[in-house]
């Protein structure tokens, strides 16, 4: 199977370029990550992140034939050849398929991804009703792979200011959590022309999320709550 891999080594001083590989797949090789491992066996200078190999850790997010996806759960079968593998768009490239996610996680930390509740804790736990727990569905499953953020033109334009779809989905996850007591502060933080309102509902985020989540819907819900708060 033929692959075209984005190569960049800042230490060499050479410009980024694509390199072609012909991979002889083994019987058990089913996913793009399997092929990347074969490429690495043949050329150990190829660099990429991977860990769990089952779509849970989000390490191997990359652009596969023009679409952001996780290499470990993207089937080789049906991919157009040569399969073009590139780093996540909009992120600074450290080396080959490895991108710098500093800004991504800076935004993630800005939305305070933890429960804020100064009330005395109960003896066992802060209970939720089944309905309150259901509100977290479609939000808590985010693995922070950055497929959505790396496919968002609004993030490409303002990566330093726009929180991005992943960060906003995580913000919504804590806004709707019945145990959190900082909803007003969270919404006030997001009510900003850059942090939230750079989203133009392009919906690339929802289109590419490997977990089937909808950051676009979460962002819309935040906007609705901001309107409700101000009326």
């Amino acid at each position: 199977m033929r692959f075209r891999v984005y190569r960049f080594n800042p230490e060499s001083g050479a410009k980024p370029a694509f390199q072609d590989y012909e991979v002889r797949l083994q019987a058990a090789d089913r996913k793009v990550l399997d092929a990347l491992v074969r490429i690495k066996e043949a050329d150990d200078s190829v660099s990429f992140r991977r860990s769990c190999r089952e779509g849970v850790c989000g390490s191997d997010a990359m652009n596969i034939n023009g679409r952001n996806a996780l290499a470990c759960i993207t089937a080789l079968e049906g991919l157009r050849e040569p399969v073009v593998l590139a780093p996540l768009p909009g992120f600074p490239v450290i080396r080959d398929l490895i991108v710098d996610m500093t800004l991504f996680f800076k935004h993630y930390h800005e939305i305070r991804p933890y429960l804020v509740n100064d009330e005395p804790p109960p003896e066992l736990e802060r209970l939720q009703s089944p309905e309150e727990r259901d509100r977290l569905n479609g939000l808590y499953e985010c693995i922070l792979c950055a497929c959505c953020t790396g496919f968002c033109p609004s993030y490409w334009w303002n990566p330093d200011k726009f929180i991005g779809p992943a960060g906003l989905l995580q913000a919504e996850r804590f806004i709707v959590d019945s145990r959190d007591r900082a909803t007003a502060e969270r919404l006030a933080f997001l009510d900003d022309v850059y942090r939230l309102y750079r989203c133009r509902t392009i919906m690339n985020c929802t289109e590419v999320c490997p977990k089937g989540l909808s950051p676009a819907r979460a962002i819309e819900h935040i906007k609705v709550q901001l309107v409700r708060r101000s009326t």
Binding site: D191, V193, L196, K223
Partner: protein, 111 residues
């Protein structure tokens, strides 16, 4: 007061879009099913207070919608502060001129 708000511009863009959508739908129905209007009939409708109010509302919605849209584009693409202020100033002046021109035309018909 913050100059570049998020929510106000967001709401303004959507409310003006609804106004524009209503006009487009109304105009489409009128063009599809109504008899063609002569220039004189158009002038008469603009001279009528209700017609002038509708045209003024359309112009205001269009100009405000354009302002938010162009402002968004400028915020995304024009990064240097001085250039951004200059471009926004030119856009605001152009839109204000168009609004004033519309008002003068409506006023001249009303007199």
């Amino acid at each position: 007061m913050r100059v570049f708000t998020g929510q106000r511009a967001f709401l303004l863009q959507r409310l003006t879009a609804l106004v524009l959508l209503a006009y487009v739908a109304g105009a489409a129905v009128r063009l599809a099913f109504g008899a063609p209007l002569s220039l004189g009939q158009w002038r008469d409708s603009a001279a009528h207070p209700a017609g002038a109010a509708l045209i003024a509302l359309l112009a205001a919605a269009l100009l405000l919608h354009a302002w938010v849209g162009v402002r968004d584009v400028v915020l995304d693409y024009v990064k240097p502060l001085g250039l951004r202020v200059a471009v926004l100033g030119m856009v605001a002046a152009a839109l204000a001129f168009l609004g004033l021109w519309t008002a003068l035309i409506l006023a001249s018909h009303a007199l």
